[in-house]
Symmetry: C2
Subunit: 190 residues, 2 copies
DNA sequence: ATCCCCATGTAATTTGTTACATGATTGA
DNA sequence: TCAATCATGTAACAAATTACATGGGGAT
């Protein structure tokens, strides 16, 4: 009623960056590493999203920026969340109808396994198992190093990633025969 | 080597529509229903993507279009895959390094559970459980009605959806205490 | 009366990806 | 010598979402 219309979005790259900064000041480069590690199983973002997001947050006064000169490299810009940033984040976190979207070329491809060459079906399956194994290595690293220091939320989310990927790997191994058995893939051409 | 550079994409809305048409001719409206049912757990597409995709496929000669006049409603356009369309699809299906992306506002939000009001954390969790329950209802419907007629690929993919969502639901129920216990959510404000 | 289903499509907007641009330091 | 890490940012592009535009028929 007279307020700004925020439409949908909310938990976008900007807001996630803001949330990451609640654990302490960081640069865009630092945040990218976080997207590649602890957030990798459910939220992707590249430099092309992160840097504009931080600029925009700074423009809104939700983060402050300290430029640290360096020799040879560009100035390191370290962002810190402000009190207004905290308020904005808490407001975003009040939205409870959150979505959970999957976009899987992997599953979309396998829907048409009967049109594929058997060796390609195998390759698709193997490729996915390797991705899962890579994630599981990452998880083991966290468990040895740092997970004990995380907030409960981070631990819950990582546990979810572990559980889901483990289920996927097991399912693939136990059901691959459905796609690679003799009855499958008759129609595939060269 | 002189061929067209196809870059990344491949298993996009266009190609998935093409794949769906291998089971028989259909309209954009029909395909939308398929995106909302059997594909809903791993690939979303709205009319704004589907209709342009079909137009584009028709322009490339990968599908043919029969316009069926109707009274009151717009002409029903029924698309059918062509031989060139089959070739294109088989080529797309040779790409084995498929991705599987998750974009979860749900998990991104819970990472910051310690900044949320306890009742909002509960609401987020409940909302997700309801979405999962809705999907599981859908699965039961398929299992009673039609899944037996599907190709092995479709059955494999549906089974994966079942397994993953079941794991998520169980994980939430067994670990929600991590987020809602007394030790959690001290810093949350009104 | 009202809502949902049928049925298509365009335009504007949002959002994110990829490629480009630069370049020193460190370890294998 | 080569690759990786550190470090930032813009511009062009691709893709999808949302809102808009239209409207009859059938069920509650």
């Amino acid at each position: 009623m007279g307020g700004v219309c925020r439409r949908v979005c909310i938990m976008d790259v900007k807001t996630v960056c803001l949330g990451m900064l609640t654990d302490g000041p960081a640069s865009g480069y630092d945040l990218k590493k976080e997207f590649e590690s602890s957030f990798s199983h459910f939220f992707a973002a590249g430099y092309g999203s992160i840097y504009p997001a931080l600029s925009s947050l700074a423009g809104q006064g939700l983060v402050s920026c300290e430029e640290i000169p360096q020799d040879g490299k560009p100035d390191r810009k370290v962002y810190a969340i402000t009190e207004e940033g905290f308020e904005f984040l808490r407001a975003a976190l009040r939205k409870t109808d959150t979505c959970h979207k999957v976009r899987s070329e992997f599953l979309a491809t396998l829907c048409f396994a009967h049109l594929m060459r058997p060796e390609d079906v195998e390759a698709v399956l193997e490729h996915r198992l390797q991705d899962i194994a890579a994630f599981q290595d990452l998880v083991r690293h966290f468990e040895c190093e740092c997970v004990a220091d995380w907030h409960a939320g981070g631990q819950f989310v990582l546990g979810m990633g572990k559980a889901v990927t483990e289920t996927m790997a097991t399912y693939i191994k136990e059901n691959r025969h459905m796609l690679t058995g003799q009855s499958a893939a008759k129609a595939a051409a060269g």
